[in-house]
Structures are given as structure tokens and as C-alpha cells.
């Protein structure tokens, strides 16, 4: 269902995305895919030495989940801007849900756009990232 600028309203919720639990293997895969080999994400002792008690998830994995939610809703070429602030650490086992809502409708050079706020939180409701994106509709 393609969102429509005429019918969409400020305050409308976006379709949420619930991800399966993060696994240690997923962090290894993401390290290889992204090139971010900081050992705090893959080596248990490095996670302990960093003061986190074990490996922690790349923030970019959580942002990637948010990106997935966005491109489930609009096509990638409709997204003009996307930014987040990382507000909490995630660990293997965390089950992340991404939610969002429309906060503004506006025109730029005749192009109708929406600004949406998005956030990702774990099964305990702990927020991991908070951000915004702008999409052309």
C-alpha cells in the first residue's frame, strides 16, 4: 500500500516492524558486511574489557532495522533524509521493534514530502535509537 500525500495525516502511525532476537552470529555477519570489526561487537572478552559485560550490537544494526521499516513503507528512492541518535546499547537476545509516525507534511519545490519520527526499542521498552526521516510522497 503506497502512502498518499493527500490522505495521510500528521499523527498517523507507520506500519511497525518487529525483528527476531539479535544473535551473536548476526553481529559477526554484520561486522563482515559493514567492515566494522571493532571487537566489542564480536569478541566476548573485548565486550567485558569495554565495561559492557559482553558483546554489544553495532548501533548501525539497529539503524538498519529502522531503515528496513522505512523501506517497507516507501521505496528507497523516495527517502530524502534519514538520521538517528543512538540512545541505548543493545545485546544479543534483544528483540527490537521499530515504530514511527508522521509529524509534518510540507512541500519543497513542488515536491510533497512528509517528515516522520521513528524509534527502536527492545522487549522491555528500552529505547535504542530515536530519529527522523523525510520522504517524498
Amino acid at each position: 500500500m503506497t502512502p498518499n500525500y493527500e490522505t495521510i495525516q500528521v499523527g498517523d502511525a507507520l506500519p511497525s516492524l518487529s525483528k527476531p532476537a539479535i544473535t551473536e552470529v548476526q553481529l559477526v555477519r554484520y561486522s563482515g558486511a559493514s567492515g566494522d570489526f571493532n571487537p566489542i561487537h564480536t569478541v566476548h572478552q573485548a565486550g567485558v574489557d569495554s565495561g559492557n559485560g559482553g558483546v554489544i550490537t553495532h548501533g548501525m544494526v539497529i539503524m538498519g532495522f529502522v531503515g528496513q521499516m522505512i523501506t517497507n513503507w516507501v521505496r528507497p528512492d523516495q527517502v530524502r533524509k534519514f538520521g538517528v541518535r543512538f540512545t541505548g546499547i543493545s545485546r544479543p537476545g534483544d528483540e527490537i521493534t521499530v515504530t514511527g509516525k508522521v509529524i509534518e507534511k510540507f512541500m519543497v519545490n513542488g515536491e510533497p514530502r512528509v517528515r516522520c519520527e521513528v524509534e527502536a526499542a527492545d522487549q522491555a521498552g528500552q529505547r535504542k535509537v530515536k530519529g527522523e526521516f523525510v520522504a517524498a510522497l
Binding site: Y30, G32, G35, D49, G59, G64, F65, I70, R75, P76
Partner: protein
């Protein structure tokens, strides 16, 4: 204290060739099975000429697009004096101009915009802001990225 002489510096040019395997690898690691990221036929049915990259793909450039001189952000922060175990990602932001696709030959320069000291409840932190503009082989801007890395002491 991080080496303040890096403020305003640009790193050696980042180069990265986008290919279909890497796009699928990133989407697969995220568990994102959107056919636009995996299946050329599905992407063509949606009006693209090939698969497109997930939204967070431009962050790969500064990790994989480094040079022997060390354009990779983490090694850069280490050169500046940070302990790699004490680095956190604070913020990440993209401006998009057109989707990244296989065959895009990307180049860009990562610039250190600022280093700001913050005194938090758990001690001092340095906030390192970076920006990069990535162009394709035709000189067209594909994406601008801005990031804040947090170095704890």
C-alpha cells in the same frame, strides 16, 4: 584528550565500488528480505534497472573504502588517541540524492568537522563530528553522510 590538530582535516579519498553481492550481504545481515535489495527481476519490475542498496549502505564507505593511509574511522580515532574499546556511535545521518546501485564507483572525502569535550556523569567524553559527500563516476552526488562518534576516557 584527542589530538585537536585533526579538526578540519580531510582524510585520503575514500573509494568504493558498489556491487550486488555487497548489497545482498548487508541486507542479509540485517535480516531485510526486501526484494529490491536482492532480486534484479523484482527491482526491474518496480522500475529500477538493477537492485538498490539499503538506506544505511553509505556507512560502509568509510569502513571498506579506506586506503593504506587509514581512512577507516576507527583507525582514525585510534590515531587521534582513542581507545578502540571506548568508542561509541552517537549519531548517523544521511541525505540521499539517488539510490546506490551496482556499478556505482564512489569517491568521497571524510572531513573532521569538530571535536567537542563533554563532562558526563561517567566521566569526560569527546564528541567527534564527521561529514562526507559521496559522488559517483559521473561526478553526481549520491549521498552526504554526517556522523558523531563518542570517545570515552
Amino acid at each position: 584528550m584527542l589530538d585537536q590538530s585533526y579538526i578540519g582535516k580531510k582524510l585520503p579519498t575514500i573509494r568504493y565500488q558498489v556491487d550486488a553481492s555487497k548489497i545482498r550481504e548487508l541486507a542479509g545481515a540485517l535480516g531485510d528480505d526486501n526484494p529490491l535489495f536482492h532480486d534484479k527481476a523484482a527491482a526491474q519490475a518496480a522500475g529500477y534497472d538493477d537492485i538498490v542498496a539499503p538506506l544505511t549502505f553509505p556507512t560502509l564507505f568509510r569502513f571498506w573504502g579506506g586506503t593504506a593511509a587509514g581512512a577507516e574511522t576507527r583507525s582514525l580515532l585510534q590515531q587521534m588517541g582513542a581507545n578502540v574499546l571506548r568508542i561509541l556511535h552517537g549519531e548517523e545521518e544521511y541525505e540521499y540524492f539517488s539510490p546506490l546501485q551496482p556499478g556505482d564507483d564512489i569517491s568521497g572525502e571524510l572531513e573532521i568537522l569538530s571535536i567537542d569535550r563533554k563532562e558526563g556523569s561517567s566521566g569526560a567524553m569527546d564528541m567527534v563530528k564527521t561529514q562526507a559527500t559521496y559522488r559517483d563516476q559521473n561526478g553526481d552526488v549520491k549521498a552526504i553522510t554526517r556522523a558523531t562518534m563518542v570517545v570515552r576516557w
